[in-house]
Symmetry: C2
Subunit: 324 residues, 2 copies
């Protein structure tokens, strides 16, 4: 059964990934370990065998809601989740910042945010309004979709906001291990992507970009020889029905290629708060996030990773290459 791609959420991720995979199918290019200036693969540079299957299981959207924070922390501490990223403009930042301070080894990055997508619950930017006027939708919050955001935002102002989010996180005691982009807004145009790239370079933090993306041809001209790219990114889509949820992840793990893959998941409890946050939007909704939570905190998942010789790694490990 196929579910239509949702209007407001995550399309960019899907489009980027699907486009990348399609392009890769036609022009697969040379094997990854012979490309670029480094003769070693990223996995080898991290000290792993070239054929090791390395996985970052990454929870998005921390600080959006207490339900997200509570479920993500539980899964980081007791489940098969190795990394997560925080949305600095969101109401529960103080909660997750407190956690980050108390758990300096937790692998927490920033999910840089230029959109506010839910119907009943909204947030604005971090920077002073007069510095980032183009970021505001007419209702006084961030734009609800990545398309509208990319279309209306002045990239200079996007850069001001992104830097303000990084600085605010640091002021709150968060030392991010990596940077990525909520709803892929910073992957919408080359100009926006270069903002993310510059932030990563300036702060010496890895950004989420994979060879899949690069093979899609989207940003290859922006990337330099010193920029780190993981190998691939996987995320579940609304086309997967709830009864096939575990099956999707089981197949993803069984078919994992050697190299570094990020599996993007979305955790929360299917509770009153989360049902209200995601009101009228089952895709990436409360039940969706509970399903992700249930799978990635299960014994089944832990066993699956073991049986398939998949090693969970973190962005912190990758970031060390940039700090040398």
């Amino acid at each position: 059964m196929s579910t239509p791609v949702p209007v407001s959420l995550g399309r960019s991720k899907l489009i980027v990934i699907i486009a990348a995979l399609l392009v890769y199918a036609v022009f697969p290019g040379p094997p990854a370990n012979t490309r670029g200036q480094e003769s070693k693969t990223l996995a080898e540079r991290l000290g792993y065998a070239a054929d090791a299957k390395l996985l970052i299981v990454h929870a998005d959207d921390l600080a959006v809601a207490h339900s997200v924070d509570a479920a993500s922390i539980k899964a980081l501490e007791t489940g098969s989740v190795s990394s997560a990223s925080i949305m600095v403009p969101c109401p529960w930042l103080t909660e997750i910042a407190g956690y980050a301070q108390a758990h300096p080894q937790a692998d927490l990055g920033l999910h840089l945010t230029l959109t506010s997508e839910w119907a009943l619950y909204r947030w604005g930017p971090v920077a002073a309004k007069n510095q980032v006027l183009s970021l505001f939708a007419r209702d006084g919050y961030l734009y609800p979709t990545e398309r509208e955001a990319a279309k209306n935002i002045n990239p200079r102002e996007a850069e001001v906001e992104i830097r303000a989010q990084i600085e605010k996180a640091r002021a709150f005691g968060i030392n991010p291990t990596h940077l990525d982009s909520h709803m892929g807004t910073l992957f919408q145009t080359k100009e926006l992507f270069e903002i993310l790239l510059r932030a990563g370079r300036d702060y010496k933090l890895p950004i989420l970009v994979s060879k899949d993306f690069a093979r899609g041809g989207l940003f290859t001209t922006s990337l330099g020889p010193n920029d780190i790219m993981i190998d691939s990114v996987i995320t579940i889509t609304p086309a997967v029905t709830s009864e096939h949820w575990a099956e999707f992840y089981i197949n993803a793990v069984k078919n994992l290629k050697p190299g570094i893959t990020e599996l993007i998941i979305h955790l929360a409890y299917d509770d009153e708060e989360m049902r209200a946050v995601t009101f009228n939007h089952p895709d990436w909704g409360a039940a969706w996030r509970q399903r992700d939570f249930d799978f990635f905190t299960s014994a089944q998942c832990r066993k699956l990773l073991e049986e398939n010789n998949v090693k969970l790694i973190t962005w912190r490990e990758i970031g060390k290459l940039l700090q040398k």
Copy 2:
């Protein structure tokens, strides 16, 4: 058993009310219905008998959390709650604005907000940052206590913010029936009180001020003959233990004086979201709000009001006097 007055919440309300009652005990003044330019009492001006016992049961803090909104709406629709007020800077504004638009007869005012009091969950002002710099605590949100807010805020900037909150509410389709002040910050100084008073006059909206307050001597010089004052305000305090909760309200209703009283309550469910919002602060916490919800949606409460000939009224009724 006595509970200490909390550090961060509601002290101003207590102090104002206790001070007012103490002063009134010493200088009770002439009977209410012979004071001022009007020979009729406010109750009579609304068409009630001079000895009618009129009560606004008023839920504070709408828009703070989904739990608050859901419980308050339920109590407004099915319980003995007649009015409520909305905090415009808070994350769930869009939810309650949707409700207000769909329920134009609901008696919803604005709980004008200059503080952000909870440990893990914070909000900032509505106005552009550069116009209200003095409103920001060092962490980039509003001050946590009314004392700090009153001490640090530039009153001109407080007025900009208050007006921005009223305008934002209107832009979101809320037609407020009254104005009051979250944590009583606008009752902290005469200058701040006059901001509330001017807003009420300019928008032709009644503000929460009672003869108790005026008798306390705090603002009598600011009030003019055309300003509307209700007779008294009652609210439960942390000194009341949970087992005496219903008893407090039963006594309050049984001892109600003729005239117009506002009973300020705080509604939410004792759920995960609300326990996280009110983390580490049982006073005005999640269980407190559930107790208020349970009492004011009970058959016991409905019967109590009936048996004591107490009529529930709204701010909308009072506000009509200002629109004539």
